[in-house]
Every structure is written in C-alpha cells, then in structure tokens.
C-alpha cells in the first residue's frame, strides 16, 4: 500500500512544430500505441496510487478524449480515481494560469480533499518505468521534507544539459544546488521533474507562495528553501526519455527498437496502460519485408519497412519503402512511395509514388489529416 496521491502538471509551453498545434505534449502519440502521459500515469497506478489529478492548461481536448473516465488505467473509482483539472479553476485566477505554482494552486481542492500524506508531482512528458513506492520509501528513510527524482546522464553534452534542470547532490543525497538550464552545468544529474513531498507541506507552501505573488515552483519554492527544508534527491537508474523537442520525440520513439529499453519500459510486472481500440492483429502481405520495426495492431503491411515505429491502423502499400519513420495512427501510404526520416501525424495519406525525405536531425513532419 502507498500513502500517495499523484498530480501531473501539463507542460504547455513546449512546442514541437506541427505535432503540438492541436494537442498538448502529454497527448503526443508515442511508441506505436501510447500517448506520452500513459507512462507517468501507469507509473502512478503501478505504484498503487489510486487518486491522480491531471492539471491541464491549453489544447487539452485530445488529452481528455484519450483519458476518458480513466477506466483503462483502473482509475474509474468511487474513492479517488482520475481527476482532470481544467484551467481557470484556481481561486482568484482571472486568466490562464502562468507558472507552475498557479497550476498546482488550481488543483488545491483536489489536494485538500485527499487523505494521503504524500503527493507526487510530475510532468507528463517523460518515458520511464519507475517504481514510485521506492521513492516514497527513500523519502521516509531520509526523513526528507521534499524528495526530487533525478538520473545521471553520462553521455549528455553541456548543450544537452542546457535544456534541463541540473541538481548538485552531496554524499548524503541532500540537494545542495539547483541550476535551471545552465550554460556551465556543475553536474550531470538531470532532474526528472518528479517531486515527492508532504501533502500538507505542499498546500502550505503554495498558499504562502501565492500570497507573495510567486509563480515558479523551482525558483521560488525549491531554490529559496534549499537550506530551510531538507530537500533530498533519489537517483533513478533506469531508462529515461525526455520529450521536449522534435528531436527528443523522435529519439524517444526509436529507442523502443532497442531490446533492453523495450524490456525495461514494457516490463510485464509494471505494464504501461493505454486506451484500448479493439484493433485486429497486424497483417503482413506476400511482398512484405520488415526489419527492426515496432508495429501496432490494425496495420496492413505490404511494403518494405525498416527502423520505424508504426502506429495502430496504418496501411503501407506494395513497392513502398519506409525507413527511419514514425507513422501515426490510421495513416495510409499507398503503393510505390519512398519515405525516410519522416514523422506522419495521424490520418495522413501519401498518394501513389509519393517521395518524402527528411533528415535525422530534422525529421520532416506532415500534419494531421494532410494528403500528400
């Protein structure tokens, strides 16, 4: 049993070209049959959390459509369950909420109603399979006020780290410094945007911060309190895929072609749940040639497909070559086409003989519903 509730905060300022025109980043289709938010939501459910709030900000209809009543995550409960918290719901907020503190404040009635002692705050743009019960155990063993979750990114360049929040952690797992998008990072400890703290402490801190006019959770609540509160850091050792740009979106997808990553992320004792579509098994035609691909149900594959992620209900015609692509749900690629380094959004049609070539560093994106 756990004594936690979960709160997922929408990451609405992120823009991934056309991919986020009509949906928030949490609702991005990923890994063939999932939406990005499925990973964090499943992590919470698999850690026995039965009450989860999702604070939305803009373009949330796609997310709401995906989550429904929360049935697929076993979150359609009498007690607790899934709460989708729309913007404009905080006290005194006149317009759209601006900072993280506003986002959390808009969930204050959800937080106040909960009986659990701890709350996990997280963003929804991360691919990882993490046991949050371990984080809670760590939090209690260290008698921490706040626990931040991080991973050590050994291969990241300073430039990569410049996209993240970097933690300085001492030998006793205490956080000694927090740097936001540093130019000269002092460590390779990347904060995973996951925070565990007391529900009461969060409520109190948000009330106080709100009264002061503070807006930012990291700057105003964490950095300012590094010496007043016991802020500890829990090191996560597994695979982490952050999605904050088209490139990281692309690599988080193709990472699923690696056997060790797939095995860890889709660990059968902590499965990743998603919306069920009742698609038929994928069918391969007589001329199909498929190598190193992740393929979802409902596809009909008749062409040559390599190193790609193919979502549910995609149709790939004869004599068509698809390589290094991400093809989203219900797209149709007709006969004799060639696609390389392309991201097709949902329901795109590529007509007979179409040729689309992108680059590994700049994959070509075709917007939802387009006909090429």
């Amino acid at each position: 049993m756990t004594n936690m509730i979960g709160l997922i905060l929408s990451e609405s300022y992120l823009q991934l070209n056309g991919l986020t025109d009509k949906r928030s980043v949490e609702a991005l289709p990923i890994a063939g049959r999932y939406r990005l938010v499925d990973f964090m939501l499943s992590n919470m459910v698999n850690s026995d959390i039965t009450s989860v709030g999702i604070v939305t900000k803009t373009k949330y209809s796609s997310l709401m459509d995906h989550l429904g009543s929360g049935k697929e995550w076993d979150l359609n409960r009498k007690n607790g369950g899934l709460h989708i918290i729309p913007p404009y719901s905080g006290r005194g907020i006149q317009g759209l909420s601006e900072g993280t503190i506003d986002l959390i404040a808009s969930a204050s009635s959800f937080i106040r109603r909960s009986k659990e002692d701890h709350i996990i705050l997280s963003k929804g743009n991360i691919v990882a399979n993490i046991d949050l019960k371990e984080v809670e155990k760590f939090h209690e063993e260290n008698s921490a006020d706040i626990t931040l979750v991080y991973y050590e990114s050994k291969e990241a360049t300073n430039r990569d780290l410049g996209d993240h929040i970097v933690l300085e952690v001492d030998d006793n797992c205490r956080v000694r410094g927090i740097e936001i998008r540093p130019i000269r990072p002092k460590s390779r400890n990347v904060f995973m945007n996951m925070v565990l703290m007391g529900t009461g402490l969060l409520q109190y801190s948000i009330d106080e911060a709100y009264a002061r006019g503070d807006r930012d959770f990291i700057r105003d609540l964490l950095i300012k309190n590094l010496s007043n509160l016991k802020i500890c850091a829990y090191k996560f050792e597994g695979y982490v895929g952050f999605v904050h740009s088209v490139c990281t979106y692309y690599s988080a997808n193709v990472d699923m072609l690696k056997e060790d990553v797939r095995r860890e992320i889709f660990n059968s004792s902590r499965p990743i749940y998603t919306k069920i579509k009742d698609q038929v098994p994928a069918r391969y035609g007589s001329e199909a040639s498929v190598h190193n691909c992740l393929i979802a149900d409902g596809c009909i594959i008749q062409g040559d497909v390599r190193d790609s992620i193919i979502f549910r209900g995609v149709n790939i015609g004869k004599n068509t070559k698809v390589s290094n692509c991400i093809i989203m749900q219900d797209s149709v690629i007709e006969a004799g086409c060639e696609l390389k380094h392309v991201i097709l959004d949902k329901e795109v049609t590529v007509r007979d003989g179409g040729r689309l070539i992108g680059d590994l560093t700049h994959p070509m994106i075709i917007d939802k519903g387009e006909v090429v």
């Binding site: 499965p271 990743i272 098994p281 007589s286 190598h291 979802a296």
Partner: protein, 410 residues
Amino acid sequence: MARIECVAMILAGGQGSRLGVLTNEVAKPAVPFGGKYRIIDFPLTNCSHSGISTVGVLTQYQPLDLNTYIGNGGPWDLDRNNGGVYVLPPYVSMSENKWYKGTANAIYHNIQFIEKFNPKYVLVLSGDHIYKMDYRKMIDFHKEKEATATIAVMSVPWEEASRFGIMDADEDGKIIEFHEKPENPISNQASMGIYIFDWENLKIVLEEDEKDENSSKDFGKDIIPKMLSNKMPMYAYRFQGYWKDVGTVHSLWEANMDIIADPPLFNLNDSNWRIYSRNPIKPPHYISNDAVITNSCVTEGCNIFGDVDHCVISDGVTIEKGAKVRDSVIFPNVHISSDAVLEKVVVGEGTVIGKGAEIGLESKDDNPYASHLCTNDIVLINGNIKIPDGAKIYKNSMVRTFDIGGGDRT
C-alpha cells in the same frame, strides 16, 4: 426492472472433446482464435453490435477461464446498469442437482433468470461459432413473419449436409420439415444453431419437454421437432456470409487460415463491426532485422526474430532467430527457440518449443503421437509444456506431454 425486448442466451457449456488437448483445461468457447480473440468474443461482439445488452452465458465444463475472461463484460460494452452479461453455471437447488442435461435443459434451468427481464424474445446462441451477424435483422424478420420460432440457416455443400440440422422451407421461409443430421438430406439449408423464440411459447414447450422422459432435452433433437408437430409457425432466416463451427482441430486451423487468406475469407478488419475482446496489456510487436514475415497476422507483445510465413501469431509470442514457422497457429505466450521448424502446427498457450525441434515431419507408421483428432497433416501441441531441443514430431500428431504420451493411446 424495465422490460427488455430480447435476452440472448449463449450456450457455452460444451466440452469440445474433438479439440483434444486444447480443451483439457478450458471450455471450447474460451479457446484462443485469430491472434487476439477467444471463440466466445464472436457471439458477445455480435450481441453488443446488435443492441442486445442482456446476455446470459451458460457455462458448465471447465468454467473458470471463461468466467474470468468475461468478468463484468466491460470489453464488449456489456457492463450495464440494466442488463449486461451474466455467467450462469449450473447450481444445486433444494430438490435436485441442476447439471445441464442438454441445450434445452440449460435454458429450462434458467427460466427464472429470463423471467426477471420479462423479455418478448429469447435469442439462443452457441458459444463456439465464428461469424459476424446483425441479430437485429433476424429479429425484424421474426416479427415480420409473426413466427413463434426463427432459425438461422445457410447453404452448405450437399456432401456435408448430413452433418447438420437440415431445414426444408417453403418460398416464404416457413419451415415444413426439420431433420437433425439426416442420412439423405432433402435440402442443403443447414441450421446455424441460432434461434429466436417468443419467450411465452418457448417457456411452455420447455416445461413440457422437461416432463418428457424420452427427451434428450436438446434444441435440435427435441424442441424444434416438438414445436413443428404442434404446428407453431416457424421460419428459416437465410444468412449469407462467413460462418464456421470450429469444433475440430482441422476446422479451427482452417478458420484461422481463412483470416490470413489474401483477400481474407473472413475479414476481421471491419471498422463498423470491430470484434471486441479482453485486450492484452502489451506493447506493439517487434520485428527484428533478421526476421522474414509474410502472409501472416501478428499481434501485441510478440518478438519475431525468425522466419514466419502464413501463420496466425497470438499475443506475447517469441520466435527466435533461425526458427522457421509455416502454416501454423501459435497461441499466446508461446516461445519458439532458435532453428526450430514448424509446419502446420497448432501450439497451445505458453508452450516452449526447444532449439532445432522439427514438428510436422512426413508421417511414419509407428508415430507414437498419432491421433484420430488430428487430420489433414496437422500437429496439435498441448499448452504449457516443453518440447525438448531437437525433438521430432510427425504429421497428424497430438502431443499431450512429450516423452510421456499423446495421441490416442493416452
């Protein structure tokens, strides 16, 4: 409770003994089919799409898997406030042990259940047929003809007609004669085991039949002939489309092959009539660099490294590098090790095939696993067993446990 127009009763108690080891531990309707389905998904899906939301599933033989599979009926949209799906096993009452003696007896024992909903019609279905059918059209036909009973029929090849209940109907569809498995069939219109009855009349006939000691308490053998001799208006509803009784190993294999034919003889990929099932919670399947995959269907959770042609691969199956699998039906969570060769094999759930095993070799005379249940060169391998590395198994075999036995001798 609000009156419900039509209650469906699915007969799911059959042992399915002709499916050999596949039904050792599960009832026939719970046998996997088509990669991610079980046979019972088809009648349940048909009910759901036909707007019939009150469904009784009559179980008897090995009901545990079926019970857990059906659960609250959510996957078929049958978790309803009024109605929904009910699993109805036989029970012991004050006066007797109500083990179902026949198909009609099973309905008879659930008269109270049906009465609770006070329906006008009762739709009786079989839990072991593969087909897509809109029962609403059949109910409309039943109403239009003001029939007491309507039986769905389809044309079958004349040479097979003697395996079925055969109907002779006039031009209007009114049934004149009915013969269960006749030696010399008078028509090729075969009963599909799908019946609509006016509940009031059916109840009377069921109660009478129950008192008849000579009755075998079966719809085809007793109830339909009784209704006919009572001159009740009965009609044959002609169904056109795919329908298959998957009662034998060969017909089960064949029906699986029908969905991967090009174009499919039975199309499951119909967005207006999606087949509902309890979906496995598994990621998309992975096809490796070394794999060759053609003319097959594959579903979630599979990892394919070998060579697969003309197969139905269920969820969670791993086929290692160098393995060659042809014309086979692989049930969930099977592991086929490297360099194994399988031809025309049905492999039960969770079985492990050892390295370099050869299954489906040319027949030999003293085949220890030979079985009369496995014909047309098919090999049937039990679920949850291990076939050792390098094992050799010949055509027309049934393997219960390797080295200990199989075939007809066990």
